[in-house]
Each structure stands twice: as structure tokens, then as C-alpha cells.
Symmetry: D2
């Protein structure tokens, strides 16, 4: 059985993705909102690579993450069958939010340049709360 | 402020939908899985028209619905900007499942012919359970 | 047959949308990328209300639009069944790009605050080109 | 740079997929239409593994594929973070259509059992046309 690619934890993190029909639109290119899906896959894989299980965080620690801001430059379009590389890099870590710099590239061409700010929420109230110290430290060590 | 179209409860139910860029793929037509989204919108609107609130069902009665089988004939493609009509008709009601016949049409042309079987689940265990009698009766009166 | 709501052309434009299962994720709220779908529906409906047919623009005038930048603040989450209002307002019109200010609200609560810059492209080469004068004038008259 | 998993051409074909937030809905499980996306990824990867480039087929031979029928049994739900295996097996090859049997499994549990019939279309007219003999033979040799 083929396996999903595994990746080492690092300050900067990259996952390859394939562009399928589902990602494209009638303009022949990837639909603009779908680049945000690729970016989220990368952030989730990065958490996983750090040993962080988002479902366990919610079940055991009442903690979940929510994107509070994105800024995305769509530089060049991806098309069907493209093999793209999605990266995430920890740009800033404050008490309750994490800011990622993210890119999508195809070979040497950069397609997407983005900044994504994620907040830590109490999963009961959906209110912001500080990032627990152990996660905070792990990320700071990895990311900065 | 413009309002969403309202609809009367009935054995057969129809909602208009517009095809947007998000629904299409690089083949220039609606991506095949997205027709199932249109069909689900129709079923949800039909429940709403019957006064059934799916979130309240889950919160108050531990009950949710899950599709257990679909059979879909893709007869003709829809394209960007199409105004389509999605229908649902109660075809069969057994103790724990509901079978809908669904269609999607554009003007006089039929695009989709489908059958969808939905099961009633306990939202805690995700195991099948009988449809509560009050819902059952309401549907039987409306649908048969 | 129920009809989709119609809307008058205006500098500011609003369309109601319903939140369906397809829009939500396992966090119980609308998946962040899906707000961009709602925003695109509003821009497309606004073009349609202005009498502009995007497929005809491409077929007859080799012209298509592409989002080149988005900035989105996710202020509050939308949940299943919400009836939300999506707005678009022409914020700036330059030679080859249009900038929209967009919001999503639910009742009096603002959920999304966004800015979206769209470029006019030659649909053959996918290179930027000036917005044709007739469209430009129509938008300027409507939007400013 | 990590790479997407590569796979050998075969009568039966399998690709691993990860369940991300985008795939789930507020019920806490994968949204029913999204299983069809996983199944399409598998079919597309299988064509790619056979050396068949869908964009080249369309550009050079005016040929594209369209799903004309699906029958899907949803046996068990997938949830966030699941690593699932999607398979496709050539079940029948007629003059103008290909029928795949497809499954989705998680470990030893089968989640999805499906049959998908795909037609070969002229990409200009979108009318059915016979599958070209060279593709036909390649598939027959691989699949039967």
C-alpha cells in the first residue's frame, strides 16, 4: 500500500499537492478559494508533524484554532494536473495568535504569496484564549 | 434587503439554484460531485419548509440524518450561470430510512435523475435508529 | 416555480445566501475558504445585474476576470442554516483592476470584512489588459 | 522536497488520501459529496499512472471523459485526520463507456462501495464517441 509522504517538523514546512478537477473552475485554472484549502492542508500537516492532534486538543483541552485574517496575492494560476508545493513558515507568535507566511510554488514559479493569522479559541465558548505554554514553547523552538 | 425565496411544504419540493464559478471545473461544466450539493440544499430546504430544524433535532433529540446510498444519472451537464431547478420527492419511508427521488432540470431539459436514501442516526453513537413517530407522520402525510 | 431573487444594479450590491452542510466543517462553523465562495457569488450576481455576461465576455471579447488579491478579516463565524447577507461595493477602479469592498453580515452582526482586487485578463494569454471603456464607464457611473 | 507517492499501473489501483477540514461538515464527518472527490482523484491518478494526460487528450484528440452514472453505498463515515485508501478497478469496458468499481477503506474497515460509469465524449460537441482503440487496448490489457 502506498503511503502519504511523511515530513519532519521544522520552522518551515512544505507539502506537495496535486491539482485535480475538483480544484479547477470553468476558467481552466484553480478556483481562487481553493488555494486556501491547499494552505490549510499544509498547516494541518505541520501540526501533525509536530505531534499535535487537533481533535485531541479539542476533546481534551477545549482548544481549537480559527483563521482570523488572510492576505493572499494570487501571482500565477495553477492548472489541472499541476504538482504544487505548499509551504508554511511561522512568522510571528503572540499570546493568542500565530501568523504564518505561506507560499505555493510550481517548480521555480511562485503562484501564491500569503499571510494567515490563526487564533486560539476555547472550543466551548469560541472566545480567544492564550495558546497553552507547552504548544507555545514547542512552536517557538521550532519556528524562531 | 432581498430575501431568499420561500416555499410551501409539499410532497414534492423544488428550489432554484444558480451555477457559480465554484461549481464548475476545467471541463467547462459543473463538477460531478457538486450536483450532490445542489441536491442536499433541496433536501435541507424541504426540512426547513416542514418546520424541522436539523440543529435542534441533534441538540434536543440526539438525532441526525446521513445519506446511506445515492444513485445518480448525469444526463446533461449544467454550465456557468445556469439557473437550475432542484427537486426532491418522498419516494419511500421505512422505519429508519427515507428515500428521495431527486431531479435537476434547466428549463425543459432534465440534467440529473437521482435516488437518495437517508438514514436516521443517533447523533451520539451514529447508529441507525427509528425515525421518531411525529416526524414520520408529518412526512407520510406530506409525501404519500 | 420559485425564482431566484432579482436585484437592481447599484454601486453597492447585496445578495442573501443560506449556509448549508457543504459550507460547514467539523468545527461546526463555515470553513474559512467557503466565505470566498459567497463573496464570488455576490460579485457574479452584481455583474449579471449590470447586464454583463461573463461567458459572453470571454467568447466575444476574449476577456475574463481573475482575483489578484484578497484581504479577509474573519470577525465571527457563520453556522449551519444561517441566512447571511453578502455585499460588494466598488471601492476603486483603475485601468486594469477593480477593487471591491465586501462584507458578510447576519442580522446586525458583521461576520466578514474583506477587500478583493480583480484584474481584467486577456483570456487567450491570461495577461492583464485594460478594462474596456464601455464596462469601465458603466462601473464608474454605478460605483462612484 | 517531499514527493507525491508514485504508483504502478495495474488493473486495480489505490491511492492514499488524508481527510482535512475542507472535507468534513458540521456533522463531524466527511460531507457525502466529498467522497466523490476522493474517488475522482484515484481515477485521475490511475490515468496518469497509465501515461494518459487528460489535458493532452482534449487538446490533441478532442476527447474528454464524463461521469454518466454513480452508485454509492456510504457504509461508515470518515472523520478528520483519517488516512484513507481509495481504490479503482476496471469492472467493464464497452465501446464508449468504462465502468469502475471503487472503494474507500480505513484500515480494515470499508467506508465506501461504489460503481462509476464514465463516458468518452467529443470535447467539441460533448457527444459520446467510441474510446480510441489504443486507449481501449491498454485498458483492456491492464484491467481484464
Amino acid at each position: 500500500m502506498p503511503r502519504l509522504p511523511s515530513v519532519a517538523a521544522a520552522a518551515s514546512f512544505a507539502v506537495p499537492c496535486r491539482v485535480y478537477w475538483e480544484d479547477t473552475d470553468a476558467g481552466g485554472v484553480v478556483y481562487y478559494a481553493n488555494y486556501l484549502k491547499f494552505m490549510e492542508r499544509c498547516r494541518s500537516d505541520w501540526l501533525r508533524a509536530l505531534g499535535i492532534d487537533q481533535l485531541a486538543l479539542r476533546a481534551e483541552r477545549q482548544l481549537q484554532f480559527a483563521v482570523v485574517n488572510v492576505t493572499v496575492d494570487f501571482l500565477r494560476p495553477a492548472v489541472l494536473n499541476d504538482e504544487i508545493l505548499v509551504t508554511a513558515e511561522l512568522a510571528r507568535l503572540s499570546g493568542a495568535t500565530i501568523t504564518f507566511k505561506q507560499t505555493i510554488t510550481r517548480g521555480h514559479a511562485q503562484l501564491i504569496d500569503a499571510s494567515v493569522r490563526v487564533a486560539c479559541l476555547d472550543s466551548g465558548t469560541l472566545k480567544p484564549r492564550p495558546i497553552p505554554k507547552d504548544l507555545f514553547l514547542e512552536w517557538r523552538n521550532n519556528g524562531q
